[in-house]
Amino acid sequence: MTSADSSNGARRPRIGPPERVGVWTGVALVALLGGGFAVGGFIPPPGPGESAAEIASHYRDNVDLRRIGVIMLILGGTLLIPFGGVISDQLRRVEGIGATARLTQFGAACVAAGLMMTFGSVLLVALMRPDFPDTTYQTLNSLSFMAWIGLWQPGALQAAATAAAILSDRSETPVFPRWVGWYSAWMAFGSLMGSLIPFFTHGPFAWNGFIGFFVAATPFFTWFLVMIYQLRRNLARDEEPALTAVAIGDGAGVAERRAVT
């Protein structure tokens, strides 16, 4: 008898190596995205209001280091896919909801990963040819950071779908605590700040500004940390031997626990 097919009726999901690895991809994702921004010299990135010469000189300095930074960003972005998979795997255990929320969550994660890959490649093109004209750097820089910071919709959709699933859980023992759902809702709502990005080339709301970059990054990164924390707890809980009401203090329960383990 495996933990997945316990006869006690409680939720006994199957937890295997892919699920455990999936949670760790979340840790790697945060490290790679944070590290990629730091190594690439993108904290904050070159601003939309900077001159072509300023932006070109930024990319012509420490070219190899910046290439490594962008590769880290692409790799971190790629890991959005397995991490989204682990979240979906947990969301499918929520009682009484259909597939829409988990599929939306996973689809949004894949789109976000695609954005990291596509516009990471755009920056790698810029970094491949230091002899490009200055204006080419300006264009490629604008393309990438408008997509990465200004295109808030995939990340917000991922968090909103997660929130919808968690807050719909009617079980007495919900898959996720409700505060995680509210945190996800806050992340999705806070992402609306990204709508300001196209309007400003200077100041706090530009993509390199105090609000547009630093404040907006906070809900985004902390959402992944919250999800990592909670997924680890969920997996640890799901891996525990099945203990039911009948298992407390009687011989039958001990026997069942032995059977389950």
Partner: protein, 195 residues
């Protein structure tokens, strides 16, 4: 018989509404705190620009909106009390009136935006108007969210909040409404009074 721990648990103060929802409310307050810090920073950098910008705003419309939101908060407090006393019809009417205050606030804000835009100012005019439009716009979005939450609760309040989580969700909506009010009580003096 209640044990000591049970008694302490029963007497322990608890946050109104759903505890997890305070994550959302406190998170929102954190973002607005950053926006207020930006206002204070830019006002310190350009005191004359802020004084000139403030002079173009209508204190009357700002004050009117303050009164509208305060009235909305009072109505929602009365609604929660009426609901707790099982006066469901009265509670539902108070909820509807509170939500109407949100719509009224949005209408006055629209009037004010139209007036400022007609005078030739936009969020690209200078740092004052950039912050004015962004911060009050973000607040307006919160007002509309709070209004929607209250309007969505009206029927359930009229039915006596029959669902398991209905009461906590209603209290959460009320708390969110008070947050919206509280934020305006900081925004109003920052843009309309202090300079």
């Amino acid at each position: 018989m209640m044990g000591r721990n049970d008694r302490e648990a029963a007497q322990a103060p608890s946050a109104p509404g759903e505890p997890g929802a305070w994550v959302f409310i406190v998170g929102d307050m954190a973002i607005f705190t950053a926006l207020f810090a930006a206002i204070l920073y830019y006002r310190g950098e350009h005191p004359d620009m802020f004084a000139a910008g403030q002079a173009t705003l209508s204190q009357e419309l700002g004050t009117l909106n303050t009164v509208i939101l305060l009235l909305g908060s009072i109505l929602v407090v009365l609604a929660t009390r009426a609901s707790a006393a099982a006066r469901n019809d009265a509670a539902a009417r108070l909820v509807a009136a509170g939500a109407s205050c949100g719509l009224l606030f949005a209408a006055v804000k629209g009037l004010e935006y139209g007036r400022v835009l007609n005078e030739g100012h936009s969020m690209h005019t200078n740092d004052f108007f950039m912050l004015f439009f962004v911060v009050t716009g973000a607040h307006l979005l919160h007002v509309l969210l709070g209004t929607t939450a209250l309007a969505a609760m009206r029927r359930r309040v009229a039915a006596g909040l029959p669902g398991i989580r209905d009461r906590t969700i209603f209290e959460t909506s009320a708390c969110y409404w008070h947050l919206v009010d509280l934020l305006w009580l900081i925004i109003f003096p920052l843009f309309y009074l202090v300079n």
